[in-house]
Amino acid sequence: MGRHRTAAGVSTPLLRLDGLSRHFGGLMVLQDVNLEIPRGGIFGLIGPNGAGKTTVFNLITGLLAPTSGRIEFEHHSLSGCSPHRITRLGIARTFQNIRLFREMSLLENVMVGLHAKLGYRTHDLILATGHFRRDERAARERARELLSWVRLDHKLSDRADNLSYGDQRKLELARALASNPKLLLLDEPVAGMNSGEKDALMSDVRRISERGYTIFMIEHDMRFVMGLCQDIAVLNFGRIIARGAPDAIRVNAEVIEAYLGREDDDAAPDGAPGAAA
């Protein structure tokens, strides 16, 4: 269902992870990860808990520095780039543990996300020039539009901390879109949502992808990942053990073992690949 576009046939990747490793003390969280993410489409990264998935995102967004290896985004090396520079280059993300500005309204949360894009200067503000007022109006319009993409435009002036958990995730998604990223990283976008919310978000994410955003997501919910992604990589103990289309991943013996081989894995997700095989 819903594979509206194939990832094949795109020559230069948008993002390339090249021999990426990260150690924490003696612990090798990621070992020699090679991954290419093409432009366009939805790419998934799955794997058991503790496989190192979020570490991959933290390396891409500059929150952590790799122990070795390189990350290339549109021919820019991201080595040594600060997180806010990486945001400006066109990578935005949401977090597993939601980080909203809780005391601000939905509209304001998204407008803050627009900050990186607005070329507005302090003197424009002080003099309240026409330029400033135009920017301000445009920002408001854009924020409203982005909120409509996740169906939150009826709650513009609610405070973020009054939202349900699922709505907070959607708000974070709208805020990440505000920087108009070329690559959108989603860290467990449906964690904590009920199945109705998951289905609704699935069509939201699909529509966002159809607007031309490249999406790279980490997710435990197999129905969600398999339903959205054209291309999936599987991470286990810090290594990529499989990569391919959902149907191939579903029946991959190594993947099934990674999920089912560890009986202590409390988070073996519902509808795990093994279950379908």
Binding site: H84, F101, E103, V112, H115, Y120, L125
Partner: protein, 293 residues
Amino acid sequence: MLAQQLVNALSLGCVYALFALGFTLIFGVLGVINLSHGAVFMVGAYAAEQAVSHLGLPLWGALIVAFAFSGVLGLVIDLLVLRPLRARNAPHLIPMIATIGVGIILTNAIQGIFGAQNIRFPEQLVSNRTISVEGIDVTALELGIILLSFMLMALLLLALKKTQLGRALRAIAESPRAAYLLGINVEGLFYLTSFVAAGLGGIAGVLIGLYSNALFPLMGKSMLEKGIAVIILGGMGDMRGALIGGLFLGLAEVLSVAYVGSSMRDAVAFGLLFLILLIRPRGLFGTLMERKV
């Protein structure tokens, strides 16, 4: 009689609020209690006095000089003292100690240059006209203080509420890390905050210097104590709280002078503060003792 006292209280309270606003802004955005704010306030007043007596600047010029001089001083303190501490992730008591040191250095420097005795702004700097409305006398100075303070405070509150820059500052106040990850230039806005907050402190210095008709190197010390009281009363980091808290302290002081006696002024004012904090330990607007604008 009471109405007359209220006018006096309003003008004094406005200056307290102006001082406290910068103080609480720094706490809200940078998460630091900058105890050099009192000394920066004093230096702004001295800078204005020098500009008036040597360059013959009019009052508005003196206010601009105070804003700019104190502002740059606040920026320099941020660059030389607060930024290195931020870079090393110093726990929040460290910048407090460091800025106490900065305050002492500034106070001693001014005392070394100008001496410990009181100096004054020239008398003709402010018109000594008085306006009488239904028996209430308002001096031009009091009226000017009230108007200027409210204008500056309204401007700041409006900028924080309604502009992209203000939203970015409030975002930093809630979570510097999330703001940083969204591509906001957090360091740059720290500098801007230090500049504006210190500049407002400098203007408050000039206004107090005119109001009490005296400048002296230690004038920042009692102001700092009041500033701390005001922002704790208002709720740490809360702008409305600083405004209301400042006005309240002015009122408490003026009324205690009028009805209890001038020697009891601070005792009564601070006693009232204590009582309020017993009832609302997090301040008037404080939801939590945490940073927010």
